[in-house]
Symmetry: C2
Subunit: 373 residues, 2 copies
DNA sequence: CTGAAAGCGCTTACAG
DNA sequence: CTGAAAGCGCTTACAG
C-alpha cells in the first residue's frame, strides 16, 4: 500500500457514522404493496400503471402515479428482471488488448453505444474476453445467468470463433464495425473498402506511384477490405504506373513505427504510405520525423478512422473518417430492436469519407528520398 | 438508414431460424431444484454448496458439484441478487465530456477498474452523469433500484455537488484519482502535488525562470494541487529569479493550443510551459510548431499523466507519470472491500514520477523567442 | 450437518 | 378494467 510521498496529502476523511455495508439505505424501502394500499388498488394494478399497460383507466393511473411520486417509489429492478423476460442490460464485449479502454477507437464506439443505450433505457456492462473468460464459456454465462439481454462485440477477428456460441445458443449478438465471416451475426460496419479506394484515388491524383501500406491483422474483416482495395487499385493502375508493398503494423503506434522503418529501408523510393489506422499512421509520422524526412515533402502519409489526435499531430494527419460514434449508436439501436422482437437480421454499412489535412501532398520530383534541410 | 456506397458490401446475413427474441435459450433452463433432486438433497443444500458455506460436508459437496457439472448448471444471477444483499455490479460514473470514453485518461482508469473488478467477480456498468440524469436523481436510483453495490466516480470536480447524495443516502462511492472537497467520500488519487513539484524542480535545474502554466478548471482538486505547487515554487524561487503566468487550457488539445498561443503572445520571453495534462501539452506543442518555435530549443514543454500518445508525438513529450491504471485497480479493490464490510474510509495516494523525453532542454541563451531556422 | 418453508419484490395469466 | 394468486429462482433463518 503506497504512502503519501508528498507533504500535501489530502486531509484524512473522517470515520463516518453511516453504516457502510449494512445494505440498501436506511429504513424500509417503499415497495409496490405500500403503493397499492395507499392508492387503494391491487399490486397488479400498480405494476400495470408502471409498465404503461393501456388497459388501465386514466383516473386510476393518475391516482397511482400520485402516490408513486409522493412516496418516491422506485421499482426494484432486480425483482422486475426476475419476473419479466428482460434485464435491460446489454454488454459490450471486447478483446483484452493493452488497456483497451484507453484506445480512442474503442472509445468512440463505446461512447456511441452508451449514449444510445441510455436514451433507450438500457444499461451497459463492460466485459473483456480474456482467455480464461472464453475457456470457461463465461461469455455464454452472460446470457445463461441472466446478466444481459444482448451483447455488442467490438474489436474481434475471424479467429475469435467463440463468437459462434452466441448464435448457437440463440443469443442476441451484434458485431460493431466489423463483420464475422461465416458466423451469421448481425453487424453495423463502416465502409472501409470505399475509404481505402478514396485514399488510393487521392494519392494517385497527387501523382504517387510508389505507395506502401501498413496494415493490421488480415483476419480482421474490415482490414481485409482495405487491403483488398489497396491491391485492387494497384492492379488497376498497373502497366507499370503503380507499385506497392504491404507491411504489418499490428494496429499500434509502436509496430506502425517499426513497419514504416522497414518499408522505407527496403523501398526508399516510396513516396506515400497508407496506414490502416491512425495509430499506425502516427507511428509512421514518428519514423519519418526521426529520419529527417519531411511530411508531405518527402513522403505523404494517410491514416484511417480520424481519431481525435489525428488533427493534433504535426503535420495534421490526412485520414479516412469512419463514423465510429454513429456506428456505435446505430448498432445499439438495432440490437435493442432485436431484443424487442425484430426478426430480420441487421446488416448495415455506414459511408466513409476522406479528410484532407497536412500530411499529404503532390509527389516529390526526384524519385529518391533524401534528408530534409 | 445508410445504404452501401461501395460494391464490396458484405453478403447479407441469412434470415436465421432461431427465435431471436423468444427469451432465454432453448428448452427449459436447469434450475436449482433439478440439481437438488438429482443429487438427492434439498435446494437449501445446493445453494449452500454453491456459496461455499463451510457447514456442508465434503461428501455432499462433492455429490452436488458433480451434478452441477453434469447438468451444466449456472445459477440465475437475478434470482441470487433478489435473495441476497448484493448485485455484484459496480458502476463507473463519469461526466459527459465529448466522447468521454475515447479519452485515454478515462480509459486508463476504467481499464484498471475493469480488470480488477473481473478478478474480484464483479461486473462493471458504465454511466454518464448527464444533466437530466442528475436532475432526476438517477444516480441515486442506481442504488435504490438495486442496480449496483457501489459506484466509482471519475472526472468530477467540486462543482458536482450531487455526489453528496451518495454519502447522504448511505451509499458506497469512491472518487478515483480525485478528491471531493468536503464531501466525505472515499478516494484513491495520484500525487499531483509531488508531480508538479518535480516538474518545477527539473525546469529550474535546466535554468528556466520564465515559466508558464496551462491549467484546467481549478475546481478539480488534483488540478488545484498542481497549480498550488506551481505557485508555491515560484514564490520560493523568487527574489526575481523565477516568474510565471497561468492560463486556462480547459483540459483539451484545442484550448491548450489556444492557451499556449495566448501565453506566448503576452509573454514572448517564456522559455518553458508546464501543462496540467498531456492533451493540453500536445496543444502547446502544436502551437509551437505552427510558430516555428523549436521544442525544446526555443521553448520546453512538459505535460502530465503520461498517456499513451505522449511518447509518440514530435518531439516526444516529457511528462509526469501518474499511475492511472493502478489507481483504477486499487480504487476498485478498496470499493469491493467496503462493499464486503470494511468500515474505515479509504484515502490512498499513489506516487508519481517525472518521465524525461525530448520536449525539454536547457534554457535558450537569449531571453527573447525568435523563429527557428 | 441437512430440510421444509418463508420470502426477496416484482409481473403475468386467469378470473371476475 | 381490476384483483387474487401463482410464480420467477434463488437465499436465509429456523427447526430438527
Amino acid at each position: 500500500m503506497p504512502t503519501p510521498p508528498s507533504a500535501k496529502t489530502p486531509a484524512k476523511a473522517k470515520e463516518t457514522g453511516r453504516e457502510a455495508s449494512s445494505g440498501p439505505a436506511k429504513g424500509k424501502r417503499v415497495g409496490i404493496r405500500e403503493i397499492a394500499s395507499k392508492a387503494e388498488v391491487s399490486v397488479a394494478t400498480v405494476s400495470m400503471v408502471l409498465n404503461n399497460n393501456p388497459k388501465i383507466t386514466a383516473s386510476t393511473r393518475q391516482k397511482v402515479n400520485r402516490v408513486v411520486k409522493e412516496l418516491g417509489y422506485r421499482p426494484n429492478r432486480i425483482a422486475q428482471s426476475l419476473s419479466s423476460k428482460y434485464t435491460n442490460i446489454i454488454a459490450v464485449l471486447m478483446p483484452t488488448l493493452r488497456h483497451t479502454m484507453a484506445d480512442p477507437y474503442f472509445g468512440e464506439l463505446i461512447s456511441g453505444i452508451c449514449d444510445k443505450a441510455a436514451r433507450l433505457g438500457h444499461k451497459v456492462m463492460l466485459e473483456h474476453a480474456k482467455p480464461d473468460f472464453v475457456r470457461e464459456k463465461r461469455h455464454v454465462d452472460l446470457f445463461d445467468r441472466r446478466y444481459i439481454d444482448g451483447v455488442m462485440c467490438i474489436g474481434f477477428s475471424d479467429k475469435h470463433t467463440f463468437l459462434r456460441d452466441f448464435a448457437d445458443g440463440g443469443h442476441l449478438a451484434m458485431m460493431v464495425n466489423n463483420v464475422a465471416t461465416d458466423m451469421d451475426l448481425d453487424y453495423v460496419v463502416c465502409d472501409y473498402a470505399s475509404g481505402a479506394e478514396q485514399v488510393m484515388t487521392y494519392l494517385s491524383q497527387l501523382g504517387h506511384r510508389k505507395i506502401g501500406m501498413i496494415h493490421g491483422a488480415p483476419d480482421v474483416w474490415t482490414m481485409r477490405q482495405m487491403m483488398e482495395a489497396f491491391r485492387a487499385r494497384l492492379v488497376q493502375d498497373s502497366g507499370g504506373v503503380a507499385d506497392g508493398v504491404m507491411v504489418d503494423g499490428r494496429f499500434t503506434e509502436e509496430h506502425g513505427y517499426a513497419a514504416a522503418c522497414r518499408l522505407l529501408d527496403k523501398h526508399p523510393d516510396t513516396t506515400a504510405i497508407f496506414a490502416g489506422n491512425d495509430k499506425m499512421a502516427l507511428g509512421a509520422l514518428h519514423c519519418a520525423a526521426e529520419r529527417g524526412l519531411r511530411v508531405p515533402g518527402d513522403v505523404s502519409i494517410v491514416g484511417s478512422d480520424n481519431i481525435q489526435y489525428a488533427a493534433f499531430v504535426n503535420p495534421a494527419l490526412t485520414t479516412v473518417n469512419t463514423p465510429l460514434y454513429d456506428a456505435g449508436m446505430l448498432a445499439c439501436e438495432r440490437l435493442v430492436e432485436r431484443i424487442r422482437g425484430r426478426k430480420e437480421p441487421v446488416a448495415e454499412v455506414l459511408p466513409t469519407h476522406l479528410v484532407l489535412r497536412q500530411s499529404t501532398g503532390i509527389v516529390r520530383q526526384n524519385g529518391v528520398a533524401e534528408p530534409a534541410e
